[in-house]
């Protein structure tokens, strides 16, 4: 009887130990993945001088197929020589690489908008970073739920 008790305790201990190891592994994995690469890139490019505002970033709330996710944006700007959006970056924080695309705009375009299709490996945030001609930066983010990931591998 006594022996059996000892066994159960040790088994329980073993389970605790295992869960402890598992959680350390899990958390360490998160600790590696946690420094949001997309946000890091945004900070790098904007030199930490970025304002989070509500720009129009159109992504689906739920993407059934992560291989072809339509993403479009439309940033309100007069697009004149004195006031225009120079560059727009797209980032995804759950993809193997955070960079998605970089768009270069010119005043000839009359509007700051574009549409493309991107891959999303899992449910994650999509970030948009806009660089204005006066050196200002603005960003916005949007969460996309992905049913089937689309990065291969």
């Amino acid at each position: 009887m006594k022996r059996q008790k000892m066994i159960t305790i040790s088994r329980r201990n073993a389970i605790y130990l295992m869960s402890g190891v598992a959680s350390t592994v899990l958390f360490s994995k998160y600790a590696i993945a946690k420094p949001n690469l997309a946000l890091q890139k945004i900070k790098e490019i904007s030199k930490n001088n970025v304002e989070e505002i509500d720009l129009f970033l159109d992504v689906p709330e739920i993407a059934e197929n992560g291989n072809q996710v339509k993403v479009s944006f439309d940033i309100e700007s007069p697009m004149t020589k004195d006031d225009f959006v120079k560059t727009v970056y797209l980032f995804a924080d759950g993809n193997p690489a955070p960079n998605v695309a970089k768009f270069s705009f010119s005043t000839d375009m009359g509007a700051c908008a574009a549409t493309t299709r991107m891959r999303l490996s899992k449910t994650q945030n999509v970030y948009l970073l806009a660089e204005y001609n006066n050196g200002k930066f603005a960003m916005t983010k949007s969460k996309v739920k992905v049913t089937i990931g689309g990065c291969g591998g």
Partner: protein, 108 residues
Amino acid sequence: MSKIKPRGKVPKKASVDEIIEIKTLIRHPMHSGRMKDKNGKNIPKRIINKFLVKFNGKQVFGMDLEPSISTNPYIAFPFKAKETGTFDFEWTDDNGEKYSMSRKMSVS
């Protein structure tokens, strides 16, 4: 592999100061370097990494593409019509190849 073929849609006619939409699509596998073929071997990375649009010789729009862009990259963007001219589109492949296309537009 199917042939890489660019396609584009530009309105033939536009009025002055009208904002038109230009749509482009290029048939390209966009191998991200992470996909595997039927035998489980890695397909080497091969993507379109640059897209440039010139109007009458002047660059108006550019895009740098990363592996996160889907197969057969579709790109649509606006343009303010001011004068008659020609659009030159150019895609650059990882292997250095360039694919180009031009479209005319008349503005009245």
